[in-house]
């Protein structure tokens, strides 16, 4: 019995050691949205990255489903947009996954919105305004400068969590920054024709993109944030489009096109479906492809 129990002790201790320390050899990353999964892969190419949602899923409305709890249970780092985008599901995942490592931004939780200045912060929030967030618009991955700031902060977080591999993270960041800045230069040379263009769009999903490109969203298919397009509201947008200065109607890959098509048929405006994130169409296979695709689709309308 004595020998047996010693074996048992050794076995349990080894198991505990492998559970507790084994995962640290390589970061296990849980990304709330595919854009942050893509960014994590750029900054830590050798890690295991899991994307909780796809570009076809509205990140506001995600089920705290069992598979996500299981993935978060094993994560060393959770990378999310923040600014309350995931408020309807992330807290439940944190509670259910019982993983203290990804519960607080002091440890392995990373909110992109905390590292940049968000647009449209509100001093006063009331539900009669729709499903709005005081912390500002969370769809910040469509601003290349802000995304670069986020990349730097995320890389620093990876280094803090896994200092043994600091050199790897730092060189990956340097490589990404260099390629990203070159891409920004290329994009900026392409997007001049979009400057000052006006669009009607669904939600404020592309707030940062339009801000960066100098475009203006003059109408929202949603009567209030989070509420689906209503016929009365669409009719008022039809009136707005009648002024003749609107270039297109924009929807994101996870949004229902019916309202946009209804409006498009009545106004003769093209409806453009832009990938909301990596994987939103065939061209958007990484962050570079995502930007390329969005810009080409917008330029295509303008042509």
């Amino acid at each position: 019995m004595r020998i047996n129990s010693n074996y048992l002790k050794a076995g349990v201790a080894a198991l505990a050691l492998s559970f507790a320390c084994g995962a640290q050899a390589k970061l296990n990353i849980f990304a709330c949205e595919p854009e942050y999964a893509a960014l994590s892969k750029e900054l830590a190419p050798d890690t295991k990255v899991y994307a909780a949602t796809t570009a076809m899923q509205d990140p506001h409305q995600v089920q705290a489903r069992p598979s996500l709890i299981a993935k978060m249970r094993q994560a060393d780092l959770a990378v999310c947009a923040g600014a309350d985008l995931e408020v309807g599901w992330l807290p439940m995942l944190q509670m259910k996954s019982a993983n203290a490592q990804v519960r607080s931004t002091d440890k392995g939780l990373f909110y992109a919105a905390e590292h940049i200045q968000t647009l449209d912060q509100l001093a006063q929030v009331d539900r009669s305004m729709g499903d709005v967030h005081a912390l500002g618009n969370p769809h910040l991955h469509f601003d290349p400068e802000r995304l670069l700031q986020v990349a730097k902060a995320l890389s620093a977080k990876m280094v803090a969590l896994d200092p043994d591999n600091a050199a790897g993270y730092e060189s990956a960041l340097a490589d990404f920054s260099q390629r990203w800045q070159a891409a920004i230069g290329r994009w900026q040379s392409q997007v001049a024709p979009l400057q000052g263009k006006k669009v009607i769009a669904y939600h404020t999903s592309f707030r940062y993109l339009f801000n960066w490109l100098g475009m203006e969203q003059v109408g929202d298919l949603e009567p209030k944030p989070g509420l689906p397009p209503s016929t009365g509201h669409l009719a008022s947008l039809q009136g707005r489009a009648g002024q003749g200065d609107v270039m297109a109607i924009i929807v994101a890959s996870y949004q229902d096109e019916r309202g946009a098509k209804w409006l498009g048929e009545r106004t003769g405006l093209p409806v453009v479906n832009l990938p909301m994130s990596v994987g939103g169409n065939d061209d958007a296979q990484d962050l570079f492809g995502l930007y390329d695709s969005v810009i080409q689709l917008l330029l295509g309308v303008n042509r």
């Binding site: 507790a20 069992p66 249970r73 094993q74």
Partner: protein, 399 residues
């Protein structure tokens, strides 16, 4: 054993510091999340064992407060305000603390909370797609079983979701009928054990299966006393809306499943939820002297368990509208003198709900009841018009 424990915790400690997380905890004050649920209704009749009465009424009017207490504990307080016979009562449905920092996927909860047995039980009633819980819940768990106790839960570090837990509760609301107040009940009356498995099928579907066992030390009926047969039937007519279980037994087994589907996994516009549970409540018959009589009386197939089940399907076909159908039944046995009478309740229900936003729901529900010896119910039709609205902090929903 002491030595072994010391060694293991030294390993745990060493590993905890390995990833070099020596940031000072930022003492940011989290504002508590405050939320209220308003629930009002009108219905033309009453469902047996349910909390809602005939006519106008208020359902679960809830006021909840929750926050991380510090980096180790989370706390939640949910009070429920109910009006019964003109009197306003404040009840505590939840008042618990939960650990946030235990290692290896363990967590503990203590205080008053909803038991994690079954699928629906740990969900708040305002998130339900029907105005009352299925008959099986009303019969065996008092609609929803919350109690004072402790829970230990473990989530396995696997890609397939796998959790398991044990709970111990006071069990007052799960006690068997004790008309004469002569019985000495155990102070810790209920123990549970549960496990749940879950995962995804492709990108569009998700599932979860659960198995639960509930041991109720006070669940067996007391040996026959005079006039006992009238107890349940009479109480039914002016029943006190206590949250107590109506039919109890020493051993309850629950199997549950839920399957959800949304096109490409996008829950914004359409999604489908299929769920079902099966209950088996056994060992309810009084022991000893009456055993003999029970076997050889006119109810020849002596029942060995109360059973109940339901199957529910809810489809949200647009962000503004959802519809559901549910069928459920319970087969229970009521002690009459020296034998048990079988009784049955079947409910077929349809509901249609309009959601102006994520926070407001107006629901119309129709229930067709068919009872066989069930508390005097034969057939009945119940129509309920109900609103459920939440204000304040919007808590995340469970799967």
């Amino acid at each position: 054993m002491m030595n072994f424990n010391a060694r293991l915790s030294a390993v745990a400690l060493a590993c905890a510091f390995l990833p070099n997380l020596s940031f000072a905890a930022d003492p940011t004050l989290t504002n508590p999340a405050i939320s209220a649920v308003l629930d009002g209704y009108y219905q033309n009749a009453e469902r047996p064992m349910a909390e809602r009465v005939e006519g106008f009424g208020l359902g679960h009017t809830e006021l909840a407060l929750s926050a991380n207490i510090d980096d180790m504990f989370y706390g939640k307080l949910t009070s429920v305000i109910e009006v019964h016979d003109g009197e306003t009562e404040v009840g505590l449905e939840e008042a618990f603390i939960q650990t946030l920092g235990m290692p290896y996927g363990f967590s503990m909860r203590g205080g008053r909370f909803l038991s994690d047995v079954g699928y629906l039980n740990n969900q708040h009633v305002h998130t339900d797609a029907f105005s009352d819980r299925p008959a099986a819940y009303r019969a065996f768990l008092g609609s929803h079983y919350f109690d004072d106790g402790v829970r230990l839960d473990y989530v396995a570090p696997t890609d397939l979701y796998w959790t398991m837990g044990i709970e111990a509760f006071k069990g007052d609301s799960m006690r068997a009928e004790d008309e004469h107040g002569e019985r000495e009940f155990k102070n810790v009356g209920v123990y549970t054990a549960y496990t749940k498995l879950g995962g995804d099928i492709g990108v569009s579907s998700s599932w979860m299966l659960g198995l639960s066992y509930l041991r109720n030390e006070n669940g067996r009926l007391t040996a026959h006393e005079e006039h006992e047969e009238a107890v349940v039937a009479e109480e039914e007519h002016d029943h006190d809306h206590s949250h107590g279980a109506r039919y109890t037994g020493e051993n309850t087994y629950i199997a549950d499943f839920v399957y959800k589907w949304a096109p490409q996994g996008n829950y914004k516009y359409q999604h489908l939820t299929l769920s079902g549970e099966y209950f088996r409540v056994s060992d309810y018959a009084p022991l000893e002297e009456h055993d003999h009589d029970l076997v050889d009386d006119h109810d020849t197939s002596k029942p060995d368990a109360h059973t109940g089940w339901y199957l529910s399907s809810v489809y949200q076909f647009s962000p503004n509208w959802s519809a559901g159908v549910r069928y459920g039944q319970v087969d229970t046995h009521l002690l009459h003198d020296e034998h048990f009478d079988a009784q049955k309740l079947k409910e077929t229900e349809v509901s249609l709900a309009w959601h102006h936003s994520h926070f407001s729901t107006v629901r119309l529900q129709y229930t067709n009841q068919q009872g066989t010896n069930f508390d005097g119910i034969t057939d009945d039709n119940v129509i309920t018009l109900q609103y459920v609205m939440t204000l304040g902090a919007h808590g995340a929903h469970q799967f």
